[in-house]
């Protein structure tokens, strides 16, 4: 297995899918000549040309709608948002067009499109640039949501997302692009949507999470290990479809769960998981399910405040201890 960065993994996925299917094209701000704001599309313009790697004006609503229209007539656009924070300008098209056209047309038009880019807080980018928006996307039926945490997942899931016939919101992180990890060399490595991954086996408590928090959870688990607590970490990888079986499996195993997410608490995805566990595994729970998330505030700029606002390993450890009544 080759060890590459998350960025390279995404780049390979894009290149391979564009190679495999000429209907696939990449469109967004700075994706071409500039090789991508975060260099995910490095070299793709030279390789595939201006029709398939398209630099757009800064018009999120416009080029999102353009992509959806192109998808309705059979192309498979990958729309890059420099960050999902800016996609809010395009949400009308994502929610009112992409998520609904297949249904409104009685199945006559499909919308095979991927909306990708980083989400969540990076470092001191302050309030407008630091939002974890997966919970908002997840609420709308018609969309599928991927949130890979490792290079292998990034590559395998992006390839699956591009091949999927429905609109897929694909969420990355500025803080993950440089992360290195092993990626299978196999010819055509694809990870199907809806399959969670146990990132760490454990017996005492289940930490369920998604996206870049997986890594913070791993740190917490190491510390817990030292304290004699064996934590299992389940990375959902995709939020819709959702691998509920994997969630129930780990809860049945440990009887205690904590959901960890990067975003805001109120009506966050964690609440939904809690709801499903309590309704489907009520009798297996030895304690209320815990949640760890960012502070319920717009992200502040000051380094110290930002650190306080973000979900931390300490908080995860505390939450685990709480459900373990330790």
């Amino acid at each position: 297995m080759a060890t590459i960065t998350y960025r390279e993994a995404l780049n390979q996925a894009l290149a391979e899918e564009m190679e495999r299917d000429e209907d696939v094209f990449l469109m967004g701000e700075e994706v071409g000549l500039y090789n991508g704001a975060y260099k995910v599309s490095k070299g793709l313009l030279d390789r595939f040309g201006e029709l398939r790697v398209v630099d757009t004006p800064i018009t999120e609503l416009g080029f999102t709608g353009l992509g959806i229209g192109a998808a309705m007539v059979g192309l498979r656009p990958v729309i890059e948002y420099m960050t999902h924070n800016f996609a809010m300008l395009a949400w009308d098209q994502v929610f009112n067009s992409a998520a609904k056209v297949h249904y409104m047309s009685g199945g006559q038009f499909r919308c095979p499109i991927v909306f990708r880019g980083p989400t969540g807080a990076a470092l001191q980018l302050s309030a407008q640039h630091s939002q974890s928006l997966e919970s908002t996307y997840a609420h709308f039926p018609g969309l599928k949501i991927c949130m890979p945490a490792t290079p292998a997942d990034a590559k395998g899931l992006l390839k699956a997302a591009i091949r999927d016939d429905d609109p897929v919101v694909f969420m990355e992180s500025e803080l993950l692009y440089a992360l290195k990890g092993e990626v299978p060399d196999e010819e055509d490595f694809v990870i199907p949507l809806g399959v969670a991954d146990v990132k760490r086996e454990g017996a005492d408590v289940s930490i369920i999470t998604h996206g870049k928090m997986v890594h913070v959870c791993l740190q917490a688990a190491q510390q817990l290990e030292k304290d004699g607590v064996s934590a299992e970490i389940v990375d959902l990888r995709t939020l819709r479809p959702l691998d509920m079986e994997a969630i129930l499996r780990t809860v049945h195993k440990t009887n205690r769960a904590v959901y960890v997410e990067d975003g805001w608490p109120f009506v966050g995805i964690g609440a939904q998981i809690v709801d499903m566990i309590q309704s489907e595994a009520f009798d297996y729970l030895d304690a209320p399910i815990g949640r760890v998330m960012q502070a319920d505030i717009p992200m502040p700029y000051a380094k110290r405040l930002e650190k306080m606002a973000k979900p931390s390993a300490e908080q995860i450890i505390a939450a685990c201890n709480a459900v373990l009544y330790r």
Partner: protein, 364 residues
């Protein structure tokens, strides 16, 4: 500023076209044969009749939701579609019943959709505002004002991507021009040379608001200057002028791949929707009556008669065919089955062959 002139030029040409029908008549009515002219009249009559029946059905509760009639604007769609090929794309807003018909969707399936029936052109899921037909390249049917404009550029992009010679007609009401989506889309269409013709149906009002009350510039075609895009103004109450202006734009789009902005000046004879009175605080009965004098259908009939291109018998039989077709459509819609339980969750996702759960309502 080249295109400002271009815009003016186009407008001039269509202006003259508009103000001197006689001139055109001598050309044998724009070089259209008697049959072709009758086809246009038939389309307009059918559209009018279809909407009248729609109003009746709505009144007795056979049709629900929002319902926006096209009565008075028939010449816009009928004239604009004449230069099109079946493989050209059309997308519109929610006042699109007649456009769907003219693009070729059978009246039966359009009416069935309004009735929310299974045989509806959207399977009963879209309704009046969301008519679709992949077979006829009728792309909807959109309820968000301006929402269809970026999508149209997407069809244009696909045409360019595949090096085809199809074109896209994108309809919108004049009120949609103020939306950011209009600005973003026209820039991309002009920048990337996409074969999209943006037709603004300026029927003077966005619900109860007159255009001049919401735009600082009255002349919509001049908005094209901001995108260095060719523009034209057409008389939306004159089917032949509509056809002539759109034809020019369609040819340019096919050959040079350039988009065009066309302002079609027309007028809405009915209320904004079925729940809106014909006239009210925003326009007087007199104003409406005055515009009805210029009814595009009677005007075209007079024009044909004046040129000895239409006999009473022909008109009568045409009218009979129209009534027969529309009555049949209503009958069909009435008979068509309601969607079944299995339809509720059908088509939310095109690809449900995935692991894990897609639905979270515990009902499925």
């Amino acid at each position: 500023m080249a295109k400002v002139k271009a815009a003016s030029r186009d407008r001039a040409s269509s202006d003259s076209g508009r103000n001197a029908p006689a001139a055109r008549t001598n050309g044998g009515l724009d070089g259209l044969s008697r049959e072709e002219l009758h086809a246009l009249l038939f389309q307009m009559l059918r559209g009018r009749r279809f909407e009248e029946k729609t109003a009746e059905a709505y009144a007795i509760g056979k049709i629900g939701g929002f319902c926006h009639l096209y009565i008075g604007q028939e010449a816009v769609a009928v004239g604009a579609f004449e230069p099109l090929r079946p493989d050209d794309y059309v997308i519109s807003a929610y006042r699109e019943h007649v456009q769907a018909l003219v693009k070729g969707i059978p009246a039966r399936n359009v009416m069935a959709e309004l009735y929310g029936k299974r045989d509806g052109c959207s399977g009963g899921k879209g309704g009046s505002m969301h008519l679709y037909s992949a077979e006829h390249n009728f792309m909807g049917g959109w309820g968000i004002v301006g929402g269809q404009i970026p999508l149209a550029t997407g069809f244009g992009w696909a045409i360019k991507y595949r090096a085809e010679d199809r074109v896209v007609l994108c309809f919108m009401g004049e009120a949609a021009v103020n939306q950011g989506a209009f600005h973003e889309s026209l820039n991309m269409a002009a920048l990337w040379k996409l074969p999209v013709i943006f037709i603004v149906e300026n029927n003077r009002f966005g619900m109860g608001t007159a255009w001049e009350r919401v735009s600082s510039l009255y002349d919509i075609s001049q908005k094209a200057v901001a995108y260095d895009m060719p523009a034209a103004v057409a008389d939306g109450m004159d089917v032949l002028n509509m056809r002539a202006v759109v034809r020019e734009a369609v040819e340019r789009a096919r050959s040079e791949k350039t988009p065009t902005l066309i302002e079609a000046r027309c007028y809405r004879f009915m209320g904004h929707s079925m729940s809106d009175p014909v006239h009210g605080v925003y326009r007087t009965k007199e104003e409406v009556e005055e515009h009805k004098e210029k009814d595009p259908i009677s005007r075209f009939i007079d024009q044909l008669r004046g040129a000895d291109l239409l006999t009473e018998e022909e008109l009568k039989s045409m009218d009979e065919r129209v009534r027969a077709e529309v009555d049949d459509a209503v009958e069909f819609a009435d008979q068509s089955a309601e969607p079944g339980d299995e339809d509720l969750y059908a088509h939310v996702y095109a690809d449900e062959d995935v692991n894990g759960r897609l639905y979270f309502d515990g009902r499925r």
